[in-house]
């Protein structure tokens, strides 16, 4: 964009600001709601933050909302983190290795293997949820971290991405490494992994959020409160039986539930911005 027209600049900024505001507004409302008392929120959320912030948050963090039928918040946060991290790391490891195998090794039915992996992309958890539940139940993995994460790992979302990336790595780099005496795994560790850094960081963010936001699956496989995740916890609070939902506390929980993904994004962003700046010629 080299055009220098003040009016155009103004329009561009207006559109951008409007767009950003539209996305931020619900989050702002949630935050505002979490800083008032229950009575203040019940009639409709005010537009300015109230004075109850510290009380609400310490309540949620400390005692949890026992009345809402959910375990203390920190347990749910921990469960979500464990689940999201397992899914992310599991998926990345599997897809890195399978993409590596598919691109760099010649074995019979190589493309069949790749397409089989690829097809799993088209079958998200929701589609295969009944058979998956059956299998997980029979394996006795209900109410466990394994049950929460393994079935979600088993779709190689990122294999395709890594395959495409590995195919752009020049053959001569592979050959230079072979001459330098790097075996396949050494090549993978010393050359491919560092070159994939930017992709890894971006994927980590996407997959972490994917894992964090899982709702239906945790709801199905956990009946034990100590395995509840934060997303389903919030949902339970909102449907807390007879009582009116305690919106101010629910909103405080929701805001807290936002934090780990934000932390992950910020941490990874540093990594992939650095990756992008150091673009190799």
């Amino acid at each position: 964009m080299v055009e220098r027209r003040p009016f155009l600049t103004f329009i561009q900024h207006a559109v951008l600001i409007l767009g950003a505001a539209m996305f931020v507004f619900p989050i702002y409302l949630a935050f505002v709601a979490s800083t008032h008392t229950a009575a203040e929120v019940s009639g409709g959320v005010p537009l300015l933050p109230g004075a109850e912030m510290i009380r609400n948050y310490s309540l949620v963090l400390g005692e949890g909302i026992s009345a809402a039928g959910a375990p203390p918040l920190w347990i749910m946060l921990m469960n979500s983190t464990i689940m999201a991290l397992s899914i992310t790391i599991g998926k990345i490891v599997i897809s890195l290795l399978s993409a590596f195998a598919v691109v760099y090794f010649k074995f019979p039915f190589r493309m069949l293997a790749f397409w089989t992996i690829f097809v799993t992309l088209m079958l998200p958890v929701e589609v295969r949820i009944l058979p998956t539940f059956e299998v997980v139940a029979q394996l006795g993995m209900l109410n466990s971290y394994a049950g929460l994460s393994i079935p979600l790992i088993a779709s190689a979302t990122a294999t395709f991405l890594f395959r495409q990336f590995f195919m752009t790595v020049p053959d001569q780099l592979t050959e230079a490494a072979r001459i330098d005496g790097a075996g396949p795994m050494k090549f993978f560790r010393d050359i491919l992994l560092p070159l994939s850094r930017t992709n890894l960081a971006a994927l980590f963010v996407i997959l972490f959020i994917y894992g964090w936001n899982q709702y239906l699956w945790p709801l199905l496989v956990t009946t034990d409160e100590s395995y509840y995740t934060i997303v389903m916890g919030i949902q339970r609070m909102a449907n807390a039986g007879e009582e009116t939902p305690q919106w101010h506390l629910i909103m405080a929980t929701a805001i807290l539930a936002l934090l780990p993904p934000v932390v992950v994004i910020l941490a990874m962003q540093r990594l992939f911005v650095r990756g992008l700046v150091e673009v190799e010629k």
């Binding site: 050959e175 230079a176 330098d180 790097a182 850094r197 150091e278 190799e280 010629k281």
Partner: protein, 351 residues
């Protein structure tokens, strides 16, 4: 001893492409061998088979006294410089040069000594902490060289290492490579399609054509006695003049006139080759050239034109002040020993 022997080597790519059709070569210890030929003639394929990056369909390759057909590239004790350098982009210059040593289990302090020494040889000492992206093309080329020499391998393999440099740097680096190779005395095979590079670098020049050896010899040999029309056209700049002719009792009948034939050539149709620099102006010379363009090169000038009355193109390389003008018809003479005669059917040399 690290001579390289290539014994009747063949390469057939999947799909039945015969890239190399039986090549036998002997490269002596410490020799600089240049493989030259037009694009697609199989130079890279042959080099990559020696490096171990490509399987050998038939025949054998030995380095030193080992047959290396079934050895991994790393076990062949060779180093290769690639056309695009293939430096590891995420490693520093030091890391690039040290990687091969590290993989061979050389102790850290020894690696440092070796890398520092190689870097000093190539004038890379001040760049050791930089990444390849922070270097100029010429510096990257030197890092690629550094990565090759630091391991002190038995042989260097170069695949058009200079083709990404500008003309001036190419000239300078060419001399540096030759100098380095002579100092280290390492057997080297160098692939290029630039005949100038080939002539200046080679101890042994191998001209390849369509997967087979066309001629092997010292550059001067190849230049003075090209074994075929193909070599005659490929080596030398401007290229050799070629024209049809016939030998009979009167001598050699050329489109441009009759000249004395070299001794010992059979009568009949021939292809005549004359190097542009062997044509000398002589007002009563037997050859005629109608000048179309004169190229001034400073020390000499090239007169391009046609033989009057024929569609034969001819170039004469002239020195001296008295240059012809455009449209002029020039009389030229050539000494009998500077005539090259080839069989028009097979393209092979006749004498």
């Amino acid at each position: 001893m690290s001579n390289i022997q290539i014994n009747n080597v063949r390469k057939t790519y999947p799909g039945g492409i015969d890239a190399i059709r039986g090549i036998t070569l002997d490269i002596a210890d410490g020799e600089f061998c240049v493989l030259v030929g037009p694009s697609g003639c199989g130079k890279s394929t042959l080099l990559r088979m020696i490096a171990g990056l490509e399987t050998i369909t038939d025949g054998s390759v030995s380095i030193g006294d080992r047959v290396v057909n079934d050895l991994e590239p790393a076990e062949r004790d060779i180093a290769m410089v690639f056309q695009n350098y293939a430096l590891y982009p995420h490693m520093t210059v030091y890391g690039n040069m040290a990687y091969g040593l590290k993989n061979r289990g050389v102790p850290k302090d020894k690696i440092k000594v070796m890398v520092d020494e190689a870097a000093a040889t190539l004038g890379l000492s001040e760049f050791l902490t930089r990444k390849p992206a922070q270097l100029s093309g010429g510096q990257r080329q030197r890092v690629a060289m550094g990565r090759a020499i630091v391991r002190q391998p038995q042989a260097f393999l170069f695949d058009e290492p200079l083709s990404n440099l500008d003309a001036k740097l190419r000239l300078k680096t060419r001399v540096e490579i030759r100098d380095l190779q002579q100092r280290l005395g390492t057997t080297s095979i160098y692939v290029t399609h630039d005949q100038m590079e080939a002539m200046t670098l080679a101890d042994q020049l191998v001209v390849l054509n369509d997967g087979a050896v066309e001629q092997v010899g010292t550059p001067i040999d190849v230049y003075n006695r090209p074994a075929s029309v193909f070599v005659a056209e490929f080596i030398g700049s401007p290229p050799m003049n070629l024209m049809p002719g016939e030998i009979d009792e009167s001598g050699l009948v050329t489109p441009a006139g009759v000249v004395a034939a070299p001794a010992g050539v059979r009568h009949g149709a021939v292809t005549i080759g004359i190097r542009p620099e062997h044509l000398h102006p002589a007002s009563d010379g037997p050859l005629r050239l109608k000048v179309r363009v004169v190229e001034h090169l400073g020390a000499s000038a090239n007169a391009h034109g046609t033989v009057p009355g024929h569609a034969v193109e001819m170039i004469a390389s002239l020195t001296g002040a008295d240059l012809p003008a455009k449209g002029e018809t020039l009389g030229l003479t050539v000494a009998a020993e500077n005539l090259h005669l080839f069989d028009p059917e097979t393209g092979r040399r006749l004498h």
